[in-house]
Point group: C2
Chain length 201, copies 2
């Protein structure tokens, strides 16, 4: 068939860098881009080059932004005493959509995964320590996922912060709203029973 160093093969290999994209999906993506979506493909190539040039980390919360400070950190109305630590910028979007946190954020930009040998270098610990040294933070909410990686990450944060004078909490575990109990996994059910709250005070 085609040589492995031609432009199409090179594009297919490059697309495999995208998360959850294997050779078959990459092949399909390449064909779609080159056949039906040439204008969008040119826009993608340019947008990617531009983003690599322009996007950097917020000096305060470490999320992606183009200036020195992201819009949330620059917003004077946010409560500077409460800091929520999340794994990824997408978690900020989710939290902001829920309108349940008016404090600031810090984005770890990753998680640790002892099983896959992803250690402390995968989270922005140094940036977090720097951030805490120059701030009015009183309460820290650790908002990592309840997965093996999220738990390991939370454990590291709790160890790091244990001798510091912050009020530290994690998100509540339990049944998500709108879920039928029969489809909730056993671990979550067990946590929800164990952490049950009084129906009447």
């Amino acid at each position: 068939m085609t040589k492995k160093n031609d432009a199409l093969s090179r594009l297919i290999q490059a697309l495999c860098a995208l998360p959850n994209v294997g050779p078959k999906t990459a092949q399909r993506m390449a064909h779609t881009l080159l056949q039906q979506k040439r204008a969008q493909a040119a826009e993608l190539a340019d947008a990617l080059s531009q983003a690599l040039k322009l996007v950097r980390h917020c000096r305060s919360c470490h999320t992606f932004c183009e200036g020195e400070l992201c819009t949330i950190c620059a917003d004077e109305r946010r409560d500077r005493k409460r800091l929520m630590i999340v794994q990824m910028p997408a978690d900020i979007s989710a939290m902001e959509a829920a309108r349940c946190h008016d404090g600031l954020y810090f984005v770890l930009m990753g998680q640790v995964n002892p099983v896959q040998d992803m250690g402390l270098e995968h989270i922005a610990l140094n940036e977090l320590i720097q951030r805490l040294q120059q701030s009015d933070v009183e309460e820290i909410i650790i908002a990592t996922s309840f997965t093996a990686e999220g738990d390991a990450t939370a454990y590291i944060l709790i160890e790091l912060l244990k001798d510091l004078p912050y009020k530290i909490s994690r998100l509540a575990k339990g049944i998500p709203l709108g879920a039928d109990l029969e489809y909730v996994d056993a671990g979550t059910l067990a946590e929800a029973v164990y952490r049950r709250s009084k129906a009447r005070e």
Copy 2:
């Protein structure tokens, strides 16, 4: 949060041009590229620009290639009397891996879908007619999928070719090798019973 015309939002929107990629997946892709895979991201932007410049259609079979003719069409050893019509270049890869066709191919680069109003302009019919006018083809194998779109595409091809002196066939329908009958869908089972072949001649 972030403005909608910043570099990150633009990248996320551009990634949505990829097949089966919605805003959530695009956001995750953008974050991964900018955080952990900057070198691969730069390579992707360049590979995409290069492919848009270099990749064109084979003059004979209409698949993607960089020169005038793809390697299969240029190969003197292929049987020029048998032409297999496939939907996408990926189908050629699959057929070549199976080593069951030593003729040539023609790639439609799409399919028709009457339900989604995707008509004849979505397949390379003009190129196919041109191709047949200047060739020694005697037999045509229509190798479209057995989906609504593949069937509609095959129907159009059969109509187009019906008054021409070619031997025309489609791929066989039936149970795939290695499949447990209990997991085979009812339509395939029915076709397999209807098209059963003698166990002993």
